[in-house]
Symmetry: C2
Subunit: 160 residues, 2 copies
């Protein structure tokens, strides 16, 4: 992670893509969101969705997985260049998560983030707060999920 | 589900409890949120959390699972009494999800919902929109997660 001071509103990051397979959709839903339109093809065809589709929570955690992988790769690359890696603190929460379209079997969702706000943390000295807007877009260019999240990011240590 | 007309702002529902075990916390995190403080006890002790704790997404999907089970049980009970069961449509999204405290190994979270807003749907005739505030509270009475979500609920069919 870059230090808080090096993050600019408008910075964008491509996190990567995830393709939602039928078995994965059903396995996630059986465990965490066992509604029939997420677990059973025939029932899904008769539902308002018209076909099997992923739990909205599944679409969200696929983002988390890609975000963790992205941060890890970026940290390793920075260490490889001999650069310091800023710590990233816990997420405070999400604002305005919208599930805009169903994610059907075989859909590929590309996740992207944009920094929309940065501010100093009053509660945690040495950290700033970064708010990003994340969007998942399917292979037809249609947004399927979007939300904003706020995370602590370490500030550049002062030279002494 | 009750028909939209029978839902009142202030209605509360106890969804049940979930205890977060170490193996379950690590299995969820390895799959969806592989940060070390969710997957490795020793690394977690050295982190800002101080001990292994559940992914925030895990705390959220535990709510979803209890919500689905609650709705299913309520629908079966209504059918058993010979009452109609209103359809519930897709969730539109979440507002203001906050992770307020870490959920550590062995914590038991009780989830509760309260209806905070109801309004007629302009886009889907025959349905209303219900917004609920959901809260998860640990065994010490501390809220660990809260968020608001909006869902379509079927209106009572007009008598003809």
């Amino acid at each position: 992670m870059k230090y808080f001071e090096d993050i600019r509103v408008g910075d964008t990051t491509e996190l990567g893509r995830h393709t939602f397979g039928a078995e994965e959709i059903k396995a996630f839903a059986r465990r965490f969101d066992p509604q029939l339109f997420h677990t059973d093809e025939t029932a899904a065809e008769r539902s308002h969705f018209g076909a099997l589709c992923a739990s909205g929570w599944h679409t969200a955690v696929a983002w988390m997985r890609l975000m963790v992988a992205h941060r890890r790769a970026a940290a390793e690359a920075a260490r490889g260049r001999g650069e310091p890696v800023a710590a990233i603190g816990p997420a405070l929460g999400l604002r305005d998560l919208q599930w805009l379209k169903p994610v059907y079997v075989g859909d590929t969702v590309a996740y992207k983030t944009e920094v929309i706000e940065t501010r100093i943390s009053n509660s945690r000295p040495g950290f700033g707060l970064m708010t990003i807007r994340s969007t998942g877009t399917n292979q037809n260019g249609e947004p399927v999920i979007k939300f904003e999240s706020t995370t602590f990011v370490e500030r550049r240590p002062e030279k002494t």
